[in-house]
């Protein structure tokens, strides 16, 4: 059975691009438009990875990460932040919230896949 990845981003283009690349690699993708949209999905399904943007309306990526780490389900899921934010203080904030890693947009497809494979298999 293919591994499932929750892709959270308010940008349709990012969801499409990331979704396509990961689907081509054989992963099953569940998209969410922001943190608030992701929460019920996280409650109803277990994921092998969460890939989330940081700056989003309703609930941002940092808040979402904190929420996941406090939830019963998916508590230990790897979380990759995929964002244009690239400064150390933001990355530190993400790390403290419980993120597993940080990828700066625009992403390199091979690096993204390599990182996902490393975390998910």
């Amino acid at each position: 059975m293919s591994k499932s990845i929750l892709v959270v981003d308010d940008s349709n283009a990012i969801r499409q691009s990331v979704g396509f690349i990961l689907e081509q690699a054989g992963y099953q993708i569940v998209p969410a438009v922001d943190g608030a949209d992701a929460v019920p999905k996280l409650e109803s399904q277990s994921f092998d990875l969460v890939l989330t943007d940081v700056n989003m309306p309703n609930m941002d990526g940092i808040a979402l990460t904190k929420h996941i780490r406090q939830s019963a389900r998916n508590k230990f899921v790897p979380i990759l932040m995929l964002t244009t934010e690239s400064q150390a203080d933001m990355m530190k904030e993400g790390k403290e919230a419980g993120a597993t890693g940080w990828i700066v947009k625009p992403f390199d497809a091979e690096k993204l896949l390599g990182t996902v494979k490393k975390l998910v298999g």
Binding site: S11, A13, S17, F20, Q87, T100, P106, A109
Partner: protein, 580 residues
């Protein structure tokens, strides 16, 4: 122009840039929807034509039928040999019958001589020999009829002998011609089938090879899918410009002059930032547009090349090229047609021969009927012999006839035995020959049915092979490497790209308007500085830093920090991955 003028201009620029943002989102989003579909179409295309080798399967089925037919022919050949041996044996029996008939002939001649002698004795006996004379006369006639009958039987035997030989020869010849026709058919048809199988394999392998190569078209499509992520950067960049313009729009004339000077000095920086960001946006769109176009061109070139390769391949292997499926099949079809005609002709010949066999059976029957006359004659001889012996016993004048009568009795008895032997030989011969011809007839019927079945199966198989071959040809000729849906989506994407050109024009227009705004802001600042009586006013960095904090793209932060002459924290490069 006062601050109210900034506000109107800012709102107009913001609206235009929002349009750029939403339009790029639309164009990139459409590609983001279409390209995965196109990639799936490509994958569907590659998987749809699996090699079935149906032509090979059908030709193998027909080859099996041909082998069965060949085996039936060999078996018939063995049976013919047996029947021909039996026929030869029967022709030998005909010789035995002839010996029997010769004996009867000799008996009849002797009886004729005895009758002549008796006639002389009867004449000498005068009145007493009158009745005897009648008897001897009768004896002479019976003997003469018997001799004539043996001649007729001999003639019939000779006739049968000749016809049997002819029948055997013609049957053997017919069968040889059938074998020759079959062997002349089998070798080339096997070769044709081999070529058909190889042709099909070549065609399928070639098609699959070209289809497998078509996967390269996927690469530029995947590249486009990776690049559509840049719309996110375009959107964020425009948001940065919008945030800056909102700041400009909020400036007010109701505040003290110093505050307004701080404000205008800060605001004067923002058009530069906006122009810089719009330049980045333009560059991004232009880069993407060029990259998309290049990828599409690459894909189009690959598609054209592959389609041409496929067409050339199909022309060479399907219709016209030497060894093409169509030509090979036509050759095979002609071989079958010729063989079917030849088989029909040979079967007609064999049917004629079987009719001849029926006539032969009739001839044998007639001969047997004729032989029955010997039994009647034999009975007549017996009656005459008895009558003769009575007359000899009754009349002393016929004393000279005693020895003669005794010989007549012996001869009559011999005739009876010879006739009995002849009848037994003839009956055995007729029984055997009838059974033999029934076997020939059965063999013909079986052979005819076998041939008829083979022709029927062959015709059906040829039709199936033709249909399969045509279906294969149509499938290879008719199917395109790229589905209509793929081609349609591909063409539409080309059209969508031209929308990006329009957006670039919009961005360029807004950039000009921002430059005009910059001049207006500078004029306002100059006016306020003149009002204050100063020639320069230092930038208050607090607000600038607040805007920088709100930016999500490092290059924009850095640009604004450089304008404000302050530092921002270094950042990771785009695409960089950090695992904690």
């Amino acid at each position: 122009m006062g601050n109210a003028g900034f506000e109107a201009l800012c709102r107009s620029v913001t609206e235009s840039l929002d349009t750029v943002s939403s339009e790029t989102e639309k164009v990139y989003g459409q590609m983001g929807e279409k390209f995965p579909v196109m990639v799936r179409e490509l994958e569907f295309t590659f998987g749809r034509q699996e090699s079935q080798n149906s032509l090979a399967h059908l030709t193998q089925e027909l080859l099996d039928e041909i082998r069965n037919h060949e085996a039936a022919s060999v078996s018939a050949q063995g049976r013919t040999q047996q029947n021909l041996s039996r026929l030869e044996e029967q022709v030998g029996s005909l010789g035995k019958l002839e010996v029997c008939v010769d004996d009867i002939r000799e008996d009849s001649i002797l009886m004729e001589l005895l009758s002549l002698n008796a006639m002389v004795i009867a004449a000498k006996a005068g009145e007493s020999g009158r009745a005897f004379s009648v008897i001897t006369n009768e004896l002479q006639q019976i003997a003469s009829r018997s001799k004539d009958l043996t001649d007729e039987i001999s003639r019939r035997e000779a006739n049968l002998d000749r016809i049997f030989s002819e029948f055997g020869d013609e049957w053997t010849k017919g069968e040889s011609r059938e074998r020759l026709a079959l062997s002349e058919f089998i070798a080339p048809i096997k070769a044709v089938f081999g070529e058909l199988k190889a042709g099909e394999a070549r065609l399928l392998e070639g098609s699959e090879r070209i289809q497998a190569r078509a996967i390269v078209v996927k690469d530029p499509l995947v590249k486009i899918m990776v690049e559509i992520q840049n719309q996110d950067r375009i959107r964020q960049s425009i948001e940065h410009v919008t945030v800056s313009l909102q700041e400009l729009a909020r400036s007010s004339e109701e505040q003290p002059l110093e505050v307004r000077l701080d404000e205008i000095t800060y605001l004067a920086v923002l058009p530069d930032l906006s122009v810089q960001v719009l330049d980045e946006v333009s560059e991004q769109i232009r880069d993407n547009r060029n990259s998309f176009q290049k990828s599409l061109n690459d894909a189009a070139r690959l598609i054209d090349g592959l389609e041409k390769e496929r067409r050339d391949f199909v022309d060479a292997h399907v219709r016209t090229g030497p060894g093409s499926l169509a030509l090979t099949f036509a050759r095979g079809e002609k071989l079958f047609t010729d063989y079917f005609h030849q088989t029909a002709s040979l079967m007609r010949t064999r049917e004629g021969l079987v009719r001849k066999g029926t006539q032969l059976q009739k001839n044998v029957g007639e001969m047997a009927e004729t032989l029955h006359h010997f039994e009647e004659l034999s009975a007549s001889f017996r009656n005459v012999d008895l009558a003769s012996r009575i007359q000899v016993a009754r009349h002393s004048q016929l004393i000279a006839m005693r020895d003669n009568a005794s010989s007549m009795t012996s001869l009559t008895q011999k005739i009876e035995r010879d006739v009995g032997r002849t009848m037994a030989t003839a009956t055995a011969f007729a029984t055997s020959i009838l059974a033999l011809f029934e076997d020939f007839q059965a063999q013909f019927t079986e052979g005819f049915q076998t041939a008829e079945r083979f022709v029927a199966v062959g015709r059906r198989s040829v039709v199936r092979i033709q249909e399969t071959q045509q279906s294969l040809i149509q499938s290879v000729e008719g199917s395109r490497l790229f589905t209509d849906r793929f081609t349609e989506q591909f063409d539409r994407t080309q059209r969508d790209l031209s929308n990006l050109d329009g957006l670039l024009q919009t961005v360029a227009t807004q950039r000009s308007r921002l430059l005009a705004l910059k001049e207006q802001v500078q004029d306002e600042k100059n006016r306020l500085m003149a009002e204050k009586g100063v020639s320069e006013w230092k930038l208050e960095k607090g607000k600038l830093k607040a805007i920088v904090d709100g930016f999500t793209i490092f290059t924009h932060k850095k640009f604004l920090a450089d304008l404000g002459d302050f530092e921002v924290e270094q950042a990771a490069d785009a695409g960089e991955v950090t695992l904690f």
